[in-house]
């Protein structure tokens, strides 16, 4: 059903099933034609640049002079760069709060909407809309105002006589406004959860009811275990996506990652290094550290999934 389950299947299939090579290899020519654009793209736009960026990460390169080989220097610089270490801290804080909170909201709403509720299409649409708009510059501009010193939030607080502050200009709170923005876009994972809930066969609940299971017991013993692959899928993709967040932090902080580097996402720092300072070698090393982090997080997720994800097959 999803990229993740498909990958899992392919990985397992590769190990167990013998290769069907030679069985029917007659479509080779047609396949080459149909896949030609994709192969070209894979080589020129994806793998070629990956190799180039691997090479550049060992050089000093500013676009003007030819790249100069400096060995591991970029990588050692990474760990001595306080702003980089700070951007890692900011990004991890963001990922570890925004992703679980957003998924919790998505799951809760999916469960509420699933129980034979009238008006489901309406609620689903309304709750999904922010997911589509949330990544835009326009909404980031709106967010900057909503949490500004004379913004919407403070107007609301003033009704209760509470003196607000500039939420986006205070280093203590700026990151949390971005976390809230991420939670606001829970609609997309909610729809995946809703689809997952529909796949659970009705007879399981009927059988459980006959055995005298209550609502809580049904949730714990049927819904939750059968939903774990979907939760896992959402988790993997949301973590990968959240590590790469850029637009919101860029716009809300006016491109600086401020105040006081408190919204300096890793990708924002990478952008500054690569495309403002044109320190292309360093930016490439940063990009590879990002790949490493995302890969390790994904592997941890896959490994941990053995202990909590329940597969029906």
């Amino acid at each position: 059903m999803s990229v993740v389950t498909e990958l899992r299947k392919t990985a397992r299939g590769a190990k167990t099933a013998p290769s069907r090579r030679g069985l029917r290899n007659g479509d080779g020519k047609s396949a080459a034609i149909f896949l030609a654009p994709w192969f070209l793209g894979l080589g020129l736009i994806t793998i070629g640049p990956m190799i180039a960026s691997g090479y550049l990460s060992f050089t000093d390169y500013n676009l003007l002079q030819p790249p100069e080989w400096i060995g591991l220097e970029n990588y050692t610089r990474l760990f001595e760069d306080p702003r980089l270490l700070n951007s890692l801290r900011v990004t991890f804080t963001y990922v570890f709060t925004a992703v679980p909170l957003q998924l919790l909201a998505a799951l809760a709403l999916a469960l509420i909407l699933d129980r034979g509720l009238k008006g489901l299409p309406f609620y689903r649409s309304v709750l999904y809309l922010p997911s589509l708009l949330g990544g835009s510059v326009a909404v980031a501009i709106l967010w900057r105002q909503v949490f500004g010193i004379d913004g919407l939030v403070n107007e609301f607080l003033a009704l209760f006589g509470i003196q607000g502050k500039g939420w986006v200009s205070d280093p203590e709170t700026a990151l949390w406004t971005l976390v809230l923005l991420h939670i606001w876009t829970f609609g997309a994972p909610m729809i995946i959860f809703l689809a997952g809930l529909r796949q659970i066969p009705e007879m399981y609940y009927e059988a459980a009811a006959i055995d005298g299971a209550g609502v809580v017991r049904k949730f714990r013993s049927i819904t939750l275990p059968l939903l774990t692959p979907i939760i896992f899928f959402n988790l993997v993709l949301q973590v990968i996506g959240a590590f790469q967040s850029f637009t919101q932090a860029f716009v809300v902080s006016g491109g600086t990652g401020g105040p006081a580097d408190s919204t300096m996402f890793y990708t924002l720092y990478l952008y500054q290094k690569g495309f403002t300072a044109f320190d292309m070698g360093y930016a490439s090393a940063m990009a590879w550290l990002l790949v490493l982090i995302v890969a390790v997080m994904t592997l941890i997720n896959f490994f941990a999934s053995k202990f909590w994800v329940f597969y029906d097959d």
């Binding site: 990229v3 990958l7 590769a14 709750l127 835009s136 500004g148 009705e202 299971a213």
Partner: protein, 311 residues
Amino acid sequence: MTEVHVRTVPTDAPTPAQRIAALADEAPPVRYRSPWPDRRRAALKHAGLIALCALMLYPLVWLLVSSFKPTDLIFRDVSLIPSEVDWTNYSEGWNALQYPFSRYLINSAVIVLGSLLGNLVSCSMAAYAFARLEFRGRKLWFAIMLMSIMLPIHVIIVPQYILFARLDWINTFLPLIVPKLLATDAFFIFLMVQFFRGIPRELDEAARLDGCGHGRIYLRIMLPLSLPALATTAIFTFIWTWNDFFSQLIFLVRPDMYTAPVALRTFLDSTGASSWGPMFAMSIVSLIPVFLAFLFGQKYLVKGIATTGIK
């Protein structure tokens, strides 16, 4: 204690196409029938949901309403109903930057059109090969394709920039369109593979017996039967390309090539907080196409996410 995990799989598992059809079916399953069928409970639930919907939409509605208010009134007048509809923010915002805002909208539209064409053609072609053709290393290539969906764009953007700079493509739309012509949005390949697999093989086998080659099976059978998948691809491509900021910010640095999001961002820099009104007005203008896509393409959006599970 009864163990209620039932580990059997339904014997006649539905095909992907049936599952997709089932997802579109709005009839809610009767489940969890509450032991106390209480109307008050349902009413309470609806009240809570409506309140949540209002809260979720409030910032957007406020943005819309504020775009019709004079800037100095935006923060003094809290009411959601403007005392008068004032279009000056729109005319001011339209002309506030170096070029009229229409220029940026057209630039965005050109990139969107190119991306649409690219994704629809190249991704469906690749998907046909993965779904229907037998060739050496199919599994390996398929796995590589799946992994490329999850690859962070940042690891390739620096060398891509260098490559495109060498080709003199910076400040053109080529760096944003050519990759789509080469099926680099692998997510859509995956989406269409899923859909193609649900189309009965008997159809193409019959066509083969009639002497059709793969080109004609793809054009005459697969594509016409895959309109829902193509529509989903089109709508997602439209919205994602329209909202895209990172790559447009990097490849388009000359003001006459700016797209709507990049122009909006310049707005923030050049005019500062002094002119929220015109900025809100242009924000609304840039959100309208996405909103329309949402309005008319909802069915495909929901199915698309539900079947492939990606935002």
